[in-house]
Symmetry: C2
Subunit: 286 residues, 2 copies
């Protein structure tokens, strides 16, 4: 039996409005609240600074993009340092003429440990996810971040459907994989059987990454109705054998605080040593 190593995760499930400053203010408030309640690693949901603009193709939304570092990430850096917590953020990044859907990790001293650019970009106008109009596919591979409290990896939204992402992150030493997300039901689907099936598939695929790799997974989704999409919330943390430790509601703003004993990773991997005898190598994209 390995010795206990407990840490607390804080998942900020929130609604987003049109005005970035209002979303930033709320996120800061929620992260402070999470830290006050004991969270050591806090994650927000995907692109929390704005409404989910990818429902339509509109060039005006490119003005939402910032450089990294930039004004919004500076706020997060300062906050991480002040609260002594690790923060996982998700931003619409511009770099020269290129734009990315980027996750950023700040260590508990405020330092920007690095960034990850979403690798798989959905292009599905019918269901209101038109991301290829805005984002280039990520070109930074799959980094892991050695934070003060744990080694973590991040994969953003659509990437959560790919077992490859989780496998590579686990191989590189990630103990927790964060999935900042913006997923919901097209309004026309709500209440129908398909809505339940989709939500269930979303939970299942992420729990499976925990199981296949013996890691914690933390999915942080937005909530609230925005035009054609009803974001389904349901943020959750699963342990290294896929057991859901805690889960948020579909429709409320919530902070969920989840105690994770990192020694559970070793325990599970000893019982079910899937990583040890795997025989297939996955090529990491650049």
């Amino acid at each position: 039996m390995s010795s206990s190593k407990k840490i607390t995760l804080g998942l900020v499930q929130m609604t987003c409005v049109g005005k970035p400053s209002a979303n930033l203010e709320k996120a800061v408030f929620r992260i402070r609240e999470a830290a006050k309640k004991g969270a050591q690693i806090v994650s927000v949901s995907e692109l929390f600074l704005s409404k989910y603009f990818c429902q339509v193709n509109d060039k005006r939304f490119f003005s939402l993009a910032e450089t990294i570092p930039g004004p919004a990430t500076e706020v997060f850096s300062t906050l991480a340092k002040a609260l002594k917590v690790v923060i996982v953020g998700s931003f619409f990044e511009k770099e020269g003429k290129d734009h990315y859907n980027t996750a950023v990790v700040f260590d508990a001293d405020g330092s920007l440990l690095g960034k990850y650019r979403k690798l798989h970009i959905p292009d599905d106008p019918e269901h209101h996810y038109s991301e290829l109009f805005y984002f280039k596919p990520g070109n930074l591979g799959l980094p892991v971040f050695k934070t003060r409290f744990a080694t973590i990896g991040v994969s953003v939204c659509w990437d959560q459907w790919y077992p490859e992402n989780a496998r590579i992150l686990a191989e590189k030493g990630a103990q927790i994989i964060f999935y900042p997300t913006a997923i919901g039901w097209p309004v026309a689907e709500k209440g129908k059987e398909v809505a339940k099936t989709e939500f269930d598939a979303w939970i299942t695929i992420q729990r499976s990454h925990a199981i296949a790799n013996g890691v914690f997974v933390a999915a942080v989704n937005r909530t609230g109705l925005e035009e054609n999409l009803d974001f389904w919330g349901g943020s959750f943390v699963a342990d290294p054998f896929g057991k859901i430790l805690q889960q948020a509601s579909h429709d409320r703003e919530e902070i969920i605080l989840v105690d994770c004993d990192l020694s559970r990773i070793e325990e599970v991997r000893e019982s079910w040593p899937f990583l040890d005898c795997r025989r297939m190598k996955i090529a990491e994209p650049k």
Copy 2:
């Protein structure tokens, strides 16, 4: 909307005894029964010809191995031809001095379409799965089989925990992945919370392969108590979005018959085109 293409799968969940001829006789009887009820592709569970001998390391059990083709596979070939059904079998194979845990697919005309040798071999004496003593890791890669009714792939038991297997099979055109299995609870675990968690993880990982790849999955497990292991049955079929279409009990011999509309594969993949935009190549083992 693609046009419907319905086929019926038959999963034979059975107990096994020490005497191979008795198990073979029962399997033949069950496959006939399944075919009579309309099954077009029938699968048995892993190594159904014997008890699960891998609970201990005992050289005497090597005498259970057969060549392929060999006496048992001849029976299956004849049966497939007579019933005009596709059969997925699982055998302890010997080839010269080497031994493998091998799945075999017979087409509806009795022809042996090919074989697959289990790639990942568990070596876990504590939980009573000591397979490395008996089997060499598979050396035939991950073939798919174009049967009369569908293109199928097979992965055996421990392989079911590896997303890589399912991804490669789906990329090669598998519409259904069969998982002949022999998994159960160590007797000491039965009724404990861990038993429920393990069973749930087993379902979840296989449902996730359906979701990630837009394929049907059919898990065929044995049932019954054998020495230290209580095989947990629970054979099931999930559709291409991970929905369980039908599931067997934990503790009874059963044939489950499941209607699958193969056009559902295309429908799901159009809605959730994960395969289309994947960016990571997995190297198939040889």
